[in-house]
Symmetry: C2
Subunit: 450 residues, 2 copies
């Protein structure tokens, strides 16, 4: 393995009818299938046939306030990934779940079970939940502030990993002759006591095939980066420009090193939402076709929510007022970091209001790229070989066709260039990402009394 | 449907290597497969081939304190049932989950998702959790008392059902032409405010194929019966004797009627754990063979925990001291109701200590029956036709063989007698149980302003 050239990771970010806001209105999509598990199983099989590392679902425990202008409501991602696990064999299965709105024991069980059922393919995208709509669904008067959420998130991950570690790998003895099922000296209480959480344990399931699921993270705020440097094994991130992605990459790798971690064991995967055509013109025409299906009223409402300003009276064909993003300087939370990305677009490109709405409709601030398969492969290679990315979170603008064209046209180019696997070399998500299987922190602790 | 004779319901209660405490030590079982999803998928397919109504998993969010004397730890049941959903087509899928240790919004999502993924086969066995080991896994100094748990359970079910009802059945309009995905007047906040819980909603998924999952319950205490009469659509129960089962059946049906419910829409399913042989003698010999694999020390520890007395010094071949069950008169909680069942056995049968331990090893206080297939069918028919049961929760002493012999030998007899279906007549668990699909309580509420 160490002799082979460094390999890209590719992950398919699954989003209802596609990442483009208006994808559900395009005739190539099938929004009537969004609660049909076979729709998602087919997408996962497409990604698996192309040897992708994993698939990924975002999540939040609340309904967005606008249900009119696009798919609202989703299947719960851990059950959905379980249904996909049974219909696939190799591809990694990453679900988002909130440390703010779950109990660690319950969430640890769901992910451990997914890892057992999938034979080691589970990943957990750790979020603190960005929307304050969730609070009222959990009896809270208000969403906890960013610092409190991250402080709980640290405790949550510490407790959950200890639960996953609480059975040593060889705890089950299965001695039928003498009637001893498990060795009680290899199953440990964790006795976790934090400021937010107390969890005694032990866990009620054995250690999983991967030791524990891959820890994924997506926060780009200062707290988010600090958290990622300490805990994350893979990071989903949003960058418009190579230089920004390089700066982020360097920052996270050095933070990981400061925590005594091997920087190679933190995979950085920026989002890319590709419109692919036979020619660049065709690709850009396709992007325009999708943009023309968007609702300006909806886009203005989203922009208003993001900037905290009433923008409903902006002239669509006038330039975006730069002062709209005056507050975007300080990256205190994830919304701010997204706002900063958008402020950068406005500053550099001076788009019209309509132009900006179209940019945002593409993938909510992630990088949209319209070009030929060759051009898409070129930009992936450039970012991969110039210290900006270890791979990509592929965000097809429309499903399932937008993933299919990527796997049929872009993946073979990447394979021909020796950048991407032609066969899986391992069976677990850790194998695909090149991450080690962690040893249990309790391993041998019973015999540590010398 | 109404012209056909009343039909039995049969449900397979899946328990690691079987319900007998020592099943995992018997050569017919495969305890090395307990974290292999295909083991459970195969059992489910066996039950489905025999046209069972459903399968069922018990659950609790804690590891039992004794991990030595039998299978400890489990896959999480909702993910496990999701994996089974994808490997089956018709059979109902019932999981236990705790109202004391879950958040309503999270649990509502998991079950709704299972109902969508299985096309309407989900059931929720509502428990308040009997073990105080769970409390320390959720940051509580002590397990809430029985009354508090039931008071929260009522609020929990009320809130969860409202979440499931919060999208009217036709809320998704999917109007691509005009860009309207859903009708916001058909998606409702629930604004639930109780003493224990506050949940605003709306839910973040559409109404499920069954309207909502079947509500199942298993508490036999006074609080449990009151709860069952008001909410339960199916009840799992434990009775040793026909007369006790008849009294319970009459009590629950009349409680349901008092709540204005149709008593036929509450299915009562006692447990039965059958050892089946070619002759009665052979069946009883098989039961003895399993009993001889039990550990008396383990049995005494369990009995001690149940009675709250140190019984480790009891003579195994002496009669059980009757005073051990002096406290069993008052049915204040579920443990007490189980204790009362056991006190009844002791009073009627005057067993030795070893004899009682063997009785309890069979199915933890549920009815163990050893006989021929004909005798098993006879007792099922007797209970079914004499006002004691609407069907049975079948608890094979060993898996998978103990279910296979039941489906191969007992089911055909029940079918020949016209008591049990030979084909499924519907597709959902509600169809199998003969339960109506509930209308959303918000249905038409937006237009109720006339």
């Amino acid at each position: 393995m160490s002799d082979s050239p460094r390999q890209l990771s590719l992950n398919a970010f699954i989003h209802p009818a596609g990442h483009h806001e208006a994808a559900w209105r395009h005739p190539w999509t099938t929004p009537e299938r969004l609660f049909d598990v076979t729709y998602f199983q087919e997408i996962a099989r497409t990604a698996e046939a192309a040897k992708f590392d994993g698939i990924f679902f975002a999540d939040g425990p609340a309904l967005r306030s606008d249900v009119e202008h696009g798919p609202a409501g989703t299947l719960e991602p851990i059950t959905l990934l379980t249904a996909i696990a049974v219909a696939t064999e190799r591809i990694g299965l990453i679900a988002t779940a909130s440390t703010t709105y779950y109990e660690p024991y319950n969430l640890a069980r769901l992910f451990a079970s997914l890892d057992h059922i999938s034979n080691g393919r589970a990943g957990w995208n750790i979020v603190t939940t960005g929307t304050d709509l969730a609070a009222a669904n959990f009896g809270l008067a208000k969403h906890p502030d960013h610092g409190d959420r991250y402080s709980r998130a640290r405790e949550f991950v510490d407790a959950v990993v200890r639960l996953w570690d609480s059975w040593e790998d060889d705890a089950i003895s299965l001695d039928r002759e003498n009637g001893i099922y498990a060795d009680r000296n290899k199953i440990h209480e964790i006795n976790y006591v934090g400021r937010h959480l107390r969890v005694r344990g032990p866990f009620n399931a054995p250690r999983t095939p991967q030791g524990y699921p891959v820890l994924v993270q997506a926060g780009a705020s200062n707290d988010g980066r600090a958290f990622a440097g300490q805990y994350a094994e893979a990071i989903f991130t949003a960058h418009q420009r190579l230089s920004d992605a390089q700066a982020f990459y360097t920052d996270i790798k050095s933070r990981a090193a400061q925590f005594g971690r091997n920087p190679d064991h933190v995979k950085i995967l920026p989002g890319i939402s590709p419109f692919i055509g036979d020619t660049e013109e065709q690709a850009k025409a396709l992007e325009r076709e999708f943009n023309e299906l968007t609702s300006p009223e909806y886009g203005l409402a989203q922009l208003g929510a993001l900037t905290g300003t009433d923008v409903r009276n902006l002239e669509l064909d006038a330039p975006v007022p730069v002062e709209l993003f005056a507050a975007a300087g300080d990256v205190t939370d994830n919304k701010q970091s997204r706002l900063q990305v958008i402020a950068g677009i406005v500053e550099r490109e001076r788009p019209t209001v309509r132009g900006l709405l179209h940019r945002l409709a593409g993938a909510r601030g992630h990088r949209v790229f319209a070009g030929t398969a060759e051009q898409v492969a070129d930009t992936i290679e450039e970012w991969f070989t110039s210290g900006a990315a270890d791979g990509f979170n592929v965000m097809p603008p429309y499903y399932p066709g937008g993933l299919e064209i990527f796997t049929e046209r872009v993946v073979p180019i990447l394979q021909d260039r020796g950048l991407f696997r032609t066969e899986y070399t391992g069976t677990t998500l850790r194998d695909h990402f090149g991450l080690p299987r962690p040893e249990s922190q309790f391993s041998g602790s019973a015999s540590a009394v010398q």
